[in-house]
Amino acid sequence: MSPSAAPAGTASATAESVKGVSYWTIVRRQIRKDRLAMTGLGIILFLALVALLAPLLANDRPVVMKYRGKVLFPAFTTYLDSFPVPRFVADPLRKVRFLSDYYPELGGRRFKEVVADIEAGRGSPGDWAVMPRVAYGFAEINPLQIKRRPGEDGHVLGTDDTGADVLSRMIHGTIISLSVGIVAVGIYVVIGVVLGSIAGYFGGWIDMGTMRLIEIMICFPTFFLIITVIAFLPRSIYNIMIVIGITSWPGVARLIRGEMLKAKTLDYVMASRALGVPAVRTIFREMLPNTVAPVLVSATFGVAGAILIETSLSFLGFGVAPPTASWGEIVSQGRTYVTEGLYHLVIWPGLAICLTLIAFNLAGQGLRDAMDPRLRDT
């Protein structure tokens, strides 16, 4: 058989290696071909957009309005309430006119009343207001509309036991779930990578000590450890992120340590050491880029895991402090009022949780398959 008749796969593979395509380009191409992984990434992108635009999608304040000749953007101040912005950043920002909650023009009335007036034609001439698609705030409680079923009183997905709109709380809950997932994983990946690479590179007693620590940490049921610590700390989203972060690193550390042990014997590391490059530079600039790939896979799955932990914590009542919205907390109300059969409090946020977990798991699987050379070009 002539070489030209070789299967297309091998031909393109040789062509690629001749052109010198980088590892990450190959991985990217593989993922593009993987329809499920692309679906996962698409869902993640969608969720990220929902989270970023949450205050403009669901709010009891208009996105933009003209009131007595002035153009106002009242919805933007919600960004400081809905996003996990630390106090020392949020407080100065609240003094900025655009983000402040100070509207003397309204004379103490709520935005909703003002908008209702404008829509009824009772406002001053030239006034207009653009309300968000979901015209309810995530913390807008209403004692008169408690536990409404979907569709009742204009609540598309109904209301919870405080009369807050479920859809609005779900949209704002996206922020909490995604940010906890990503930040917590970021924390533990950093801890795991640093500890694991130092242990793997230096070996000896450092390695022994780290491995012992890992063995100890692995023995604790993570979720139980997390709620124990969380229960002692003030309820805050940062504490959740940090606690998940500092309890979940052993897996990453072990992974990186193994990779480092393998890489240590390779020529480029020898060369780097022979050239007198400091160890820290060798580890983090030379070896890490070559060993970090499997961590990326486990981090993607890890985001799903961290979101699962966050929603479970909220379900058990250890989540973010009210009135901050969280998916798990809405589901727990369905359990509290079993006899009333409030399916909408379980199904919709439940679907949101499942969709998010599926998205990150699909992305993780796609990434894993794309990085596995045995599965390439099949």
Binding site: C219, F220, F223, F224, L225, V338, I353, L357
Partner: protein, 327 residues
Amino acid sequence: MIPTLLGITVVTFAIIRLAPGDPVELNITTGPTASGEGGGSDKARADIVRKAKIELGLLDREGKPIPLWKQYGTWVARTVTLDFGRSFKDQRRVVEKIAEALPVTMMLSLTSILIAYLVAVPIGVFSAVRRNTADDHVVSTILFLLWSVPSFLAGTLLILTLGRQGILPFVGLHSPQSERLGYLPYLWDHAAHVVMPLACLTYASFAALSRFVRTGMLENLRLDYVRTARSKGLPERDVVLRHALRNSLIPVVTIMGNILPQLIGGSVIIESIFTVNGMGYLGFQSILSRDYPVIMAITTFAAVLTMLGILVSDVLYCVVDPRISLQ
């Protein structure tokens, strides 16, 4: 093993002692002991706090604080003899409470592991034999979707549907006064109560486990000994079940060590949803009421159990694979 044990106790001790808030102060001001004895004057209250602290080993007999390392030493010494002190909540001995809760959780966890293996291994074999066919894809998709459903969601949905319709009971593991029933009705009652919690504990492990089996099978089916078995004319059934499966089960045994801590962690959620009086629910309640002695005992117990689980799976590894020996 001994260093790991010591490490477990250090971590447990550190979490509780370094946690913000004084356990005793908190309990006496807000806890159940607040009412009754001397709630009135500050001096009387301070006296109670002091007494409680001496009893807990935080202060010595003269009321002077004991250094942290000494406290740790006493605690470890007492822990070794299974003396975890008394619960803040009802003054019962912690060991008694654990002795009641542990069998419940162990029963659920072990049954769950058993079911997980019984279901996942055949599924894994099936997907491997039918790899990349429609059957394989359907099975993998279903398991993948199940894996992405949080157990608290599944539990709540089950309660809202089966539980609310009265099809299955969802509170506890027995009906009230079930002891009066005869043996068979009692067992039936128990089984009905167990179905939903057990299902919620188990379904998530199907996906990971069966995928593990599938990968192991695929790797083995490629090997020479399988070709030999086929070429000597063994029926495909025997090739798969007697040759490939036995060899691919070796790594599957070891992930039992990973499943156990997940089950114990997961039991907090499941037992709380279904009001099962096991370790998870006990832990949940004691965390809520800041019952420090119980929390410490449960954390230690769970960690030691997991350590033993890992040890057992290491030993099993050697049993199923004679090439590996315990050093």
